[in-house]
Structures are given as structure tokens and as C-alpha cells.
Subunit: 359 residues, 2 copies
Amino acid sequence: MGKRQNIRIKDIAKMAGVSVGTVDRVIHERGNVSEEAEQKVKAVLKKTNYSPNPIAQSLGKKKEYQISVLLPHPEQDEYWNLSKEGVLEAKREWESYHMHITLDTFNLDKPESFSKVSAEVMESKPDAILTAPIFYKESLSFYQTLKQAAIPYILVNTEIDSQLNKLDPLCIIGQDHHQSGRVAAELTHIAQHEPGQLAVMHIHENIERSIHLKEKEQGFRSYFNELGNTEFEVLTYSFLDGSESFESQISQCIAANDFKGIFVPTSSGTYLTAKALEKHQKQQQTQLIGYDLLEQNIHYLKKGTINFLINQDPYHQALQGIRYLVNHLLLHLKVPSSDLLPLEIITRQNHTSFLNGQH
Amino acid sequence: MGKRQNIRIKDIAKMAGVSVGTVDRVIHERGNVSEEAEQKVKAVLKKTNYSPNPIAQSLGKKKEYQISVLLPHPEQDEYWNLSKEGVLEAKREWESYHMHITLDTFNLDKPESFSKVSAEVMESKPDAILTAPIFYKESLSFYQTLKQAAIPYILVNTEIDSQLNKLDPLCIIGQDHHQSGRVAAELTHIAQHEPGQLAVMHIHENIERSIHLKEKEQGFRSYFNELGNTEFEVLTYSFLDGSESFESQISQCIAANDFKGIFVPTSSGTYLTAKALEKHQKQQQTQLIGYDLLEQNIHYLKKGTINFLINQDPYHQALQGIRYLVNHLLLHLKVPSSDLLPLEIITRQNHTSFLNGQH
DNA sequence: TTTTTTTGTGTGTGCGCACACATATCATTT
DNA sequence: AAATGATATGTGTGCGCACACACAAAAAAA
């Protein structure tokens, strides 16, 4: 091994027969470099596989970076509160590295709220952005703006999507929703030994997100289809927040049917369904699978009303997203174009191990 | 918010009415500071809640750190090969930060091999050590030495243990084995609907590790005991590598019984059992739960012979352990005295999501 | 008291890079 | 031919800290 002395700009300069200033100009594309010198430096750079010492880089740098995070109001849905915690952690992590991380939030139910806040965010001339595509149309137009302004952005809570890819985000962080539905189906199947009806319940305030929910449903169905299965009938229900509250709609549906299992693709829908099951005392006969370690979900998981949760780990999504942005801005490291997080299965027996600290 | 100008040593010096040299001496306890000056500086330090800029700290430092990793031969057991990968990743991560990370390996079956290699490691005067307690007696004596030499060390693959704690390791990384057994029991229980026999199979080369295996077994049993369950009979088998090979011992046992489910607390024992189940064509009637994402385990998981794996994530354990050591040595950050990793449940449908990159 | 030793304190340099600034070279214009 | 501008290149300083060194003050020994 020995002393693997890292190559410095000084060394590059010597090898290329120019000064450090010229090397610096080539590296940062500041211009005013002769064609000849540029070629020489670039050749040496490539040959030595040079990468700047990020430590010194950060030390010497004057620039202050502004990273704006744009997510739904944390108090509207606990899911987004977990994201917020991830943002705060990232903020602490990068505080002393010239990184200013600010969180702006919008109303999950109002597209115009998103438009308003996103415009405000642009005002502050951010160097990078972390956000989640909630309102499809408004989001696309926002990303278009970002692309034109050449502001790198990362999306969390996202499925890979050709429309989005055209607006080249720096990275897309999320889970494979289709596969996620398959995991739910698998878990349902494992516990079921008698034929019967299974329900997929879409419970969501926001019609725009229904694409993701449909993906999960399709994954769920595809699993049973592949089994060539006729024992289980999969029924789909959609509940929207309208004249009648979620609670009463779910309650009626559960009262009227005897499902063997229910799959709820939304995190907040999960505990609402658990509540309804208990109300009709069907928590024993009906298996419930939902999403995420929300406080209320954990409550029902402990009691056994919820059998499995799939963890989408919003905390980690936000934290990781910001880390990628810093890698990009500060260290010029390569960031993957997508990062699919593991599909973590949470049960009564293992949920605490996911809560001790954030791994 | 505004420009949160960080406090520098220079500022501390000015506030305390001394020079930066004196502040430095107080911070690093280099001595030769008058009682009076020391008190003044310490007061300011406390008042300002000063923490050094880790970037500049690392830049200015001359010292080269040596971190020695001491683990079983990676080719002896794929589990330890995964650990090795984590070490290599950590090595890459810290290469340019004055951190020299070296891996030394010993024979999993030979205590004297551990003693020999651990002595060699000490020769190289490491600044910190990462290792795993395999041979109880030899390990304790090694840790005793480390404690006396005041060399910080971190243990992976470890259960919290009062004996170990007396030899105060910097951190213990592992899983809650008891709870891990409970998760296995829970998963078994979910899929079982008819009474029958369940087997816990201890398959291990190394008698010393049996304490951990016992913990898992006890967790497994405690779950069923709490159910007040009489439907399931839990039987324990222990196989040691002796005159007869593992394969034939397992094979005989499986041929002679009709288990509803088998729980194998060792990672390499898992695929051996899967192999035996297939040999006797009992993979349908017998549920199998084991440990870790070994290549062979994944193979049988895909086929459905293995139903669940619990991931102990040796890769992450090693990587995280080294990160902690660096935090300790370089940044003087606080390291938790123990870190229990989540009990990840792996199934046929979600295993790929754990393999795309290392999260 | 003077000399030596011990103890306390301040200054200066370098880590590898970014960036402002000074300087050199060459092509245009007057 | 001199003056001006445009382009190219080199030099120097600072980021915040660690650490070596020079030096001053106090204490101990002569």
C-alpha cells in the first residue's frame, strides 16, 4: 500500500507545464485559456484521474449554497412530517459546509398553493431544489422552469416516469410501486388459506396522486393473476373526501362486506381502515396491509389490527435526496439518476427496531 | 436566519483574551497552560458552545490514522465476505482523509489463528480497531489488551453483553437476537394454520457462537410461549461439523420428520437446509426461515424453498462501524455505545430492492 | 544575585483549493 | 510606432485549524 499521496492541482500544473491558475480555469471552465493549454491540462487531468480534495475545496470556497426544499405542509399528513424530519437532519448535517437548507411547504389539497410557493422559491434563486411531484400538471410546468434555469432538482416520493425524465431531474428517489403492490399481495397470500374476497382501498384526498396508487394496485393484482388464482377475488374501492367523510365511507364498505384481506396503498388511509375494522370488530377475520410508520399506524400494528406495513421511509428519502444534492453541488460527485429504496416489511415484532435512531 | 457566521478558534482567543495557541492547547489538552488561562478559555468554549470546523481540522492535520479491521476469512463463509465488501467501501470513502484502513483475517475455526493475527495487528500500532467477537475467551483477552493500550475498538455482529461492556468497547453494532427470533416466530406463525412440529436447527462450525444462536432460539420460543400455544411443538436440533457432514445430518433429520416449519439461526445453515428440503421434496410442506442475503440463500428464496430471510446486513455493519471510528478519531464526535440495526424481513418479492446498490 | 530550568504564551507556516489580482503576450487601431 | 484592448497566464492570499518553534515569564538551582 504505502503512502498513496493524492495528486494536487499543483502536481497537475507541473505535469502539464502550466500554472495552477490555468489548471483551475480549465477545471472550472472559467475561459480565457488557450486551446493548446486546455488540451494539455485536460490530458493530464484524464491521465491522472484527478479528483479535487473535497475538504480543501469546501474550505477555500466563498460561495454559499441555497438548497430549497418544497414539500406539503407537515401538519396536514404525518407522512410529510417524517419527510420534514429528514430535511431537518440534513440541515444539521450540512450546516457548516456553506449549505443553507430551507423548507417551504404547500397545501396538499390546493394546486394553486403549490404554484404560489414554487414561484416564491424561484424568487430566492436557489442553487438546487428537492421536491415531490404532487400535482402533476403544476409540477411539470415547475420542472420545465427549473430545467430552463438549469437549476438541479431531485424528486422524492416518485415513480420513474418518461414525462418526468424528459425534464431531466438530477435524481428520482422512491420505490418501485408495482413491486410494492406485489409485496403486499405476497404477504396477503402467505397468511390466507381459504378462498375469499380481497379489497384494494384507495383512500386519498388528492386525485392527482392516484397514478401511484394504481401502480400499487396493479402490482397487487399481477401477483394473484400470475398464480392463476381463482380462490381470491380482488375488488377495488375508491374513496374521495367529498360530502361524506372518509370514516363513514370506509365504515359502510367494511360493514357491508367480509373481506379476507384489505390492502390500503396510502399511509393515512391505513389507520382509518384499521379504525373502521375495529369498529365493526372485524380485525380478527380481516387482514390489513398498509404503508408507513405513522404514529397511528404503529398503534394499530401493535394491537394486531394492522398486520403489515410497508415502509416508504420518507425520512430517509429526504435525507438522501439532500445528500445527493450536496454531492452534486459541493463535491461534483456523480449522482445516480434514480434511487429505488428497499421495500421494508414492518411487523409487530420488528417495528421497534426501525425506530431506534434512523438508520 | 441570516449569515450564521461560525465561531472560529480566533474568535475564542479574542473573547478569552489569549492567543489562538493557548486555545489550541486547552482544546487538545497539550498542557503548559496556566490555571487562569485555562479557566477563561474553557468558560468561553462552553458559553459559545464551540465546535471545531471538521473540514479545516482534517486539512491541517498531519497525523495519519491506522484503522485495523480484524474479521474471519471472507472465503470461509459468504457472510464475512459481505462484511469485507463493507470494509472496502469504507476504505474508499475515507481514503483521502488520512485514514488507512487495513483488513486482516483469521480462520473461523481456529482460535489460535485469531490470537496470532490479533497479535500481529497490535504490532502495527493501530489507532482504532473494528472486529467481531467470534472466540469468546480469546476475544475477551484481546479486548483487555486494547483497553489497557487505550485503543478504541468497535464490535460488529455482537449482542450486548455485560462481560463485553466491562471492557468498554467504543460501540457495539448488531441486532437484538432475541427479538430477531421473535420475528422469525411471528413469520412462522402467520403462515401456519394447522398444528404441527416446528424445528430450530443450529448448524454451525463454531461452538463459540452458540450463545447468539441460543438467544435467537429463546426469542423464537418465547413468542410461542406467550401465545399460550399448544398447537405447535418446538424442537431443537444441533448439528456440528464432525465425523458426519452437515449435509447428511440435516438430510437425515428432515427425512425422519415432517416439520411444519424450520428456523435456522445461521446464514450458511439456511441454504444447507433448503438443499435438504428439496432433496426430500418437502419444500412445499415445510416453511423455512433463515438469515442473510447470501447468494445461495437468494437462490432458494427465489424458488420458494426459503420463505423468509432476516437480513443482518453485515455490509452495513462494517461500513457503519468504520464511520463511527472515523467520527471518533477525526471529528471527535460522540459515538453511540450501541447500535442495533433494524430487523429486515426479506421475501421473494422484495429481495431485489435490497440488492440495488447498498442503502 | 546570576544562571539554568521549567512553565506559559504568541507567532508563523502549511494543508489543497478558490478566487482576486497582477502581469505577460499578442492582435488591432490610431 | 505607439497606444489600446483582448486574451492568456502566473502569483498571492485566505479559508480554519494543527503544530512547530521562538520567545517571555516565572521558578528553581547555582
